[in-house]
Structures are given as C-alpha cells and as structure tokens.
C-alpha cells in the first residue's frame, strides 16, 4: 500500500505501524509516532493497522531552544 511517511509517499508491505517502522529503517531507533495526526504510543503500534493513504509521522530527538 502507499502511505505518507513524514510527508513523503512510500510503498510498504507492512500492515501495522510496528512492521512499517522496521521496513522503513527505524528498527531499534528512539522515535515517537503519530498516525493521521494522532499520537500512537510505542505499546500500541502493533495494534495500529495501516490503510492506503494513511499519514504517519516518525519523530526523534532534535536540537531545540
């Protein structure tokens, strides 16, 4: 299916958020996720099913003031 990952269109095979993160190269990374604008806690990623056209945000620690 085709989804938006951090604003970029990506084709993935995974059906849930945990699988998508692994497929997209985030395995083991410290990240926070949102699905269609809603926060998805790490513990809930497996249960977060993905559908064509979904938007996911994958955020990590960054410099800030």
């Amino acid at each position: 299916m085709r989804i938006l990952v951090n604003g970029a269109s990506r084709e993935i095979r995974a059906a849930d958020l945990t699988g998508a993160l692994e497929e997209l190269g985030y395995a083991g990374a410290v990240v926070a996720t949102a699905l269609n604008g809603e926060f998805v806690a790490a513990a809930q990623r497996q249960a977060a099913r993905l559908a064509d056209g979904d938007r996911i945000e994958v955020l990590a620690p960054m410099q800030g003031g």
Partner: protein, 257 residues
C-alpha cells in the same frame, strides 16, 4: 535552591541545544554553562540517516535533565500531540509548552496556551508555559495547574533583552512564590544578570550562546552573570533615585570657598 515541580536545581541557567556550530561545541558549551537542564525538541527522523539518534546519544551522555519543547506548534492540537510524543521519547513529564500565535514575533497565542496547559496538567504533565508578561494570562496558567512560568524577555532569538521591564517587574511582584524563568530574547550576559537581579529565578538561553563567536566562552560568561545577578538579588539592591545623593559625608567638610 531553585525548585521546578519536585526537582531541586543548583544552576539557574537553562540552555537550549539548537544552532551550535558542531555537536562537540554544544557539549562543551553545556559543560561551561553549568546548566542542569537543556531544552530539546522533536523533528522528523529519516530512516536512512537517523540523525536524531546521534543527537540523543550526545544529550544522554551529558547527564543533564531535558525539557522537551513544543516549538513550532501553532495549534492546541499540535502542541498536545507533540507533548505526548515528547513524554514518551524523552521519558519526562516536563514540557516547555509553546503555542505560537504569529510568525513575525513568534508571540505566544496565550488563549491556546492556557487551553493546552489545562489539558496537559490534567494529563499529568509538568508544564513550563512560554508566555508573555501579562498578569491575567499568568493567573489563568496557574489556575490551569502550571507551577512554573516562563515569561519572554523579548521575541525569540532577537537578543534585545528585557523588553518590558515594568511588565516583568509587575509579574514578579504579583506572584512572588511562583518559580519564573525568563525565556527568549536574552542577548548578552548583562540581560541575564538583570533578570536575576529583578528576582526572576532563572533564565533560558539558546541563540545568545550558540551564535556567539565562541559559544563555549559565552556559556561561561552567562554562568557568571547568572550567579552575579542572583547574588545581587539576595543582597538586596538599592532603590534608584532621580536626583544625586552624595556618597561622601557632607558633615565635617571644610569651608574653603
């Protein structure tokens, strides 16, 4: 001792981590500042580059507390989601809450700020709201459950110091027991000293250090200014007057005219 929520801190200087020339200079600047709290943010991570992972490793090695921000959020919804994400990633319930109302001045949207603060406090966050010097907004933030306030000195990154001294003094006087951090707009160490002299509990500095020609030396200069400002506040500064008052005794002066 400075207290934010249940945490006691020795250093009254909080440091931002953005816009340093290199990670090594950031590390040395944090050490030179003596800061025990640094601000951090969340941004999109690329699965290929994983730049955030390296940054997070540097911060963890510093052994300081982190204060995640909601920088760049223009709506309550965005700020709430960012706060939730930050709590999970950074493992802290502290959040520097920013809800920006206008891009030119990055002035806080104080209506959205109060609304977001109320929700976050109910959800167990310990909120550090980035606000203006407005007394009524401060009152609403405290009613919402905030136990720290972060009034701006002047707009973020402008380096103009304390723009509204009268307003900041009134805020300090109105809520003497509330820990307050002057956040944003401080450009040079004398601005930081001034904030502490007025009785503000701490300052948060970023650009003034990271964009200095020598950020590490400037971090040290700010540390000294903050210490001097606090010592002066505790010593009780004299009241300013409009007319001269001779410091040398007049009594006993010779008549030589």
């Amino acid at each position: 001792m400075l207290r934010f929520y249940e945490s006691e801190l020795r250093s009254r200087l909080l440091l931002g981590t953005a816009r340093y020339p290199s990670p090594a200079i950031l590390t040395e600047a944090v050490k030179a500042s003596g800061a025990q709290v640094v601000t951090v943010s969340l941004r999109r991570e690329s699965g290929g580059e994983r730049a955030g992972q390296g940054f997070w490793s540097i911060i963890r090695d510093l052994g300081v507390r982190v204060l995640p921000n909601t920088a760049g959020c223009h709506s309550v919804k965005e700020a709430l989601t960012t706060a939730e994400m930050g709590r999970e990633v950074f493992g802290t319930s502290w959040v520097k809450l920013e809800v920006i109302g206008e891009d030119e001045t990055m002035q806080p949207d104080v209506f959205g700020l109060v609304e977001a603060a109320r929700i976050l406090c109910k959800e167990g966050f310990e909120v550090f709201p980035y606000t203006t010097e407005d007394l009524i907004v401060a009152e609403r933030l405290l009613e919402a459950g905030c136990r720290v306030l972060m009034p701006w000195g002047s707009p973020i990154g402008c380096g103009r110091g304390l723009n509204n001294l009268f307003g900041l003094k009134a805020l300090r006087a109105r809520f003497p027991e509330v820990p307050m951090v002057v956040d944003a707009g401080i450009g040079v160490p004398s601005h930081a000293a001034q904030a502490l002299e007025l009785g503000f509990d701490a300052v948060l500095i970023n650009t003034a250090v990271s964009q200095a020609r020598d950020p590490v030396a400037m971090a040290g200069a700010f540390a000294q200014a903050v210490a001097a400002g606090r010592a002066a506040y505790e010593a009780g500064p004299m009241e300013p007057r409009d007319l001269a008052v001779p410091s040398t005794p007049v009594i006993g002066k010779a008549f030589l005219g």
